[in-house]
Symmetry: C2
DNA sequence: CGGTATCCGACCTGATACTG
DNA sequence: CAGTATCAGGTCGGATACCG
């Protein structure tokens, strides 16, 4: 960060958008949080999360591996076992994610209530 | 949160996915951060962010208003002026977002380096 | 078991044009 | 100025089938 002039917040934000988009991907978040508990194998993750397709799990895990958030270990057995574990980097992401999860948990009721009220007001206009 | 049995983290995560998906939307994040500085008018936000289409700005602002994160105030002047300001809820979201931004800033260099290394290893196989 | 390749529909997004 | 409506392209994500 060699910012000599104080940049407005949204400019920093732009620089980090590739990282922030990780969070928007719900699968990424769920995988990271799932691996927080302990390392897991492919179908173990799949079963634990539930509702994720094989392809999306494979894709997301590869993306996480590429970013160095997840370490992939192949045990040359028959049948093959592949274990996924969080790296230090991956573990460090879990903290801010949990903060966000905490915020969501604190405010989700209010948000849902706001949505209902907004939609009601909208519908009464439409009628 | 009436969890009588300790739920695994990923289950909580699922409940919050509708909130978490807010974060993944880069426009949402940038708008919230932009409004952190001060309330702004429509085209002011548009110019400040840059690169956002009129439609996406309108849509995203509507969504934020629906969630109660942003308050929309119409001044009945000619030409009409519409001011958008963060609510208390919106301001409270800015904190965890900035934490995430801080994490991104701290680790983006390592992540990009990891990506390069991964792609290089991949390319050397392809060759 | 742990993937990859292909197809396909749904959604996201921007460009453009029009309105109050 | 502050939107809304319509269209078109691209991407996302799932289902399926197949490979090592």
């Amino acid at each position: 960060m060699e910012l000599t002039t104080p940049e407005p917040i949204h400019v920093e934000c732009k620089r980090f958008s590739s990282v922030l988009s990780l969070i928007g991907d719900k699968w990424t978040v769920m995988i990271v949080l799932t691996l927080t508990e302990r390392p897991r194998r492919f179908n173990d993750i799949k079963r634990t999360i539930g509702g994720i397709s094989q392809q999306m799990l494979a894709r997301t895990l590869r993306a996480l591996e590429r970013d160095g958030m997840v370490a992939r270990t192949v045990h040359p057995t028959v049948p093959p076992q592949v274990e996924y574990a969080l790296t230090a980097l991956g573990r460090s992401l879990a903290d801010p994610i949990r903060e966000l999860g905490f915020w969501a948990g604190t405010n989700i009721a209010e948000i849902e209530s706001n949505r209902l009220a907004f939609d009601e007001a909208r519908d009464s206009l439409a009628a």
